[in-house]
């Protein structure tokens, strides 16, 4: 079996996804015989330039440099994996898209200091992505599982294209919505094993918006529970501002 060349790239993010990769370090080392880590600047001095069989990219696109970089990565990668909610959906920093730009930027830098900023997005906006691993942070096992599948030639489907509720219920939790607690589980990709609910709080959507999600009805349910549209918008905007359905909620508020 030919050893696959693996690269890890990072655009703009908190690097938490790479910390997760370190959680999987042992398993990655065990795959040494089949997968060679040929580019991983967080860990290595001598990084190859490609081409690569598999590239894992974490981080979102926030400026023109990122766009250029992701296009280059795509060119030299056979399989491109977007790792983490920054890379798949834009991450928390995408909230900025919905705020007056000047206000956001000037809270940190003086006018004119940042020049090449673009809209914040996942990498899928600019290049074709073969696989998405959701989560902020993602789950280490998901990465290892996917790599193992790719290693033997599988073209796996994403099994997490289902709501968090599925895992939450399978674990035997009582639904928080019944207890008056805000939870975005029904419109968020599963795969985290409903850890927020296990940790006693509602899901805040860190694994990104599930396309089938019925935002409209969830919104209705939450307002019936006593949450204001503003409150719901705030929490929706943190991770879901890049999805069309949620965008409409944020833009139109009550008139959605």
């Amino acid at each position: 079996m030919k050893r696959l060349k693996l690269a890890v790239f990072s655009l703009t993010s908190c690097d938490g996804c790479q910390v997760v990769l370190l959680q999987a370090f042992k398993q990655l080392l065990q795959l040494e015989r089949y997968i060679e880590i040929s580019h991983f600047p967080l860990l290595k001095d001598k990084n190859k330039r490609g081409p690569f069989d598999i590239s894992i990219v974490e981080g979102s696109v926030v400026n023109k440099r990122d766009i250029k970089k992701i296009k280059q990565i795509r060119k030299k990668s056979k399989i491109l994996i977007a790792l983490g909610t920054c890379a798949t959906h834009g991450g928390v920093q995408a909230v900025k898209n919905f705020m007056p730009q000047d206000k956001v930027v000037h809270a940190v830098y003086p006018p004119g200091f940042i020049k090449d900023a673009t809209e914040v997005s996942g990498i899928g906006r600019h290049v074709k992505v073969d696989y998405e691993i959701w989560g902020c942070p993602p789950v280490a096992e998901d990465i290892v599982k996917l790599l193992k599948k790719l290693m033997v030639g599988q073209k796996p489907k994403n099994i997490n294209e289902e709501p968090v509720c599925v895992e939450c219920r399978a674990l035997g939790h009582e639904c928080l919505l019944e207890k008056g607690i805000l939870c975005l589980g029904p419109i968020t990709h599963k795969g985290c094993n409903a850890i927020c609910i296990s940790a006693g709080r509602g899901c805040y959507g860190c694994r990104g918006f599930l396309n089938e999600g019925n935002v409209k009805q969830l919104l209705k349910k939450l307002t019936e529970m006593g949450y204001s549209i503003g409150q719901i918008e705030d929490i929706l905007s943190v991770y879901m501002s890049n999805s069309k359905k949620v965008k409409r909620v944020i833009e139109y508020g009550e008139n959605y």
């Binding site: 033997v152 030639g153 599988q154 073209k155 796996p156 489907k157």
Partner: protein, 260 residues
């Protein structure tokens, strides 16, 4: 017997049929009927349902179109490799019931799979059936599947082949498969078997109804996402039927009402 445990069998012949399909002859001889299905898999990759593409006591033929995970890997096997199978499952065509009558076989694209099995059964028992007309439709001359058998079949049955779009080399009929049916008359007592994409099934069945065939004598083979093949996993359930177990063959009288 654990129904989920597949059996490894050897590939004894491999043919590339079209750009995205290959056919295999495999060393396996389960007792089966035309129209039945099987589950084929490869360890660590996955499993998918396929039709029996042949009727023989010595081997089984499979046709595999690469569309995704399982089919890509299965289509890349070589002669001598093992493929993992279990089955047969499903009901199959009522070949006995059709005896003594004219039969019309209509297939589009990979729908040829079960039809070929039925055809081989008929040829093997040629004297038990009346006039047999076979209509195959493909998208283009390059998409012809099992072409190498055509000559032989023509000795026993009337074979009509058309393509949706022809090219310089194509001398036969051009147009969707159902257009070939227009100028041909059928004995109203005839049986028909139709396989192909859902739209094609609908049009062909309506045509045959117009030609006076009874809807309970028109048999169609349906496809649904399925995982277990034995009526447990639930994916292929439509109304009260499991396509895998109660089908995949249904008389049109039932199939037409299988609304989700």
């Amino acid at each position: 017997m654990n129904p989920y445990v597949p059996k490894a069998v050897e590939i004894i012949e491999r043919h590339r049929e079209t750009d995205d399909t290959v056919s295999y002859k495999i060393k396996w001889n389960p007792k089966h009927k035309p129209g039945q299905i099987l589950e084929a898999s490869y360890p660590l990759i996955g499993e998918a349902p396929f039709g029996f593409a042949s009727f023989s006591e010595d081997y089984v033929e499979l046709l595999i179109r690469s569309v995704g995970n399982v089919t890509n890997t299965l289509a890349s096997l070589k002669k001598g490799d093992k493929i993992w199978v279990r089955g047969p499952y499903g009901n199959g065509f009522p070949m006995k019931e059709m005896e003594g009558n004219d039969v019309c076989l209509i297939a589009g694209g990979t729908g040829i799979v079960p039809v070929k099995a039925a055809l081989e059964y008929i040829i093997k028992n040629r004297n038990r059936y009346g006039n047999v007309k076979v209509f195959f439709g493909f998208r283009s001359p390059k998409q012809l599947i099992f072409k190498r058998y055509f000559k032989n079949w023509e000795k026993d049955v009337e074979l009509y082949v058309s393509v949706d779009r022809g090219d310089k080399t194509w001398k036969g009929h051009v147009g969707v498969v159902t257009t070939m049916l227009d100028n041909i008359s059928f004995e109203p007592k005839s049986f028909a078997i139709i396989c192909g994409p859902p739209v094609m099934i609908k049009f062909a069945a309506e045509k045959m109804l117009n030609k006076g065939l009874n809807e309970s004598r028109i048999f169609v083979s349906l496809e649904r996402l399925m995982h277990c093949g034995i009526g447990k996993c639930g994916h292929c359930m439509v109304r009260n039927v499991f396509i895998c177990k109660d089908g995949p063959v249904f008389p049109y009288s039932i199939a037409k009402d299988l609304e989700d």
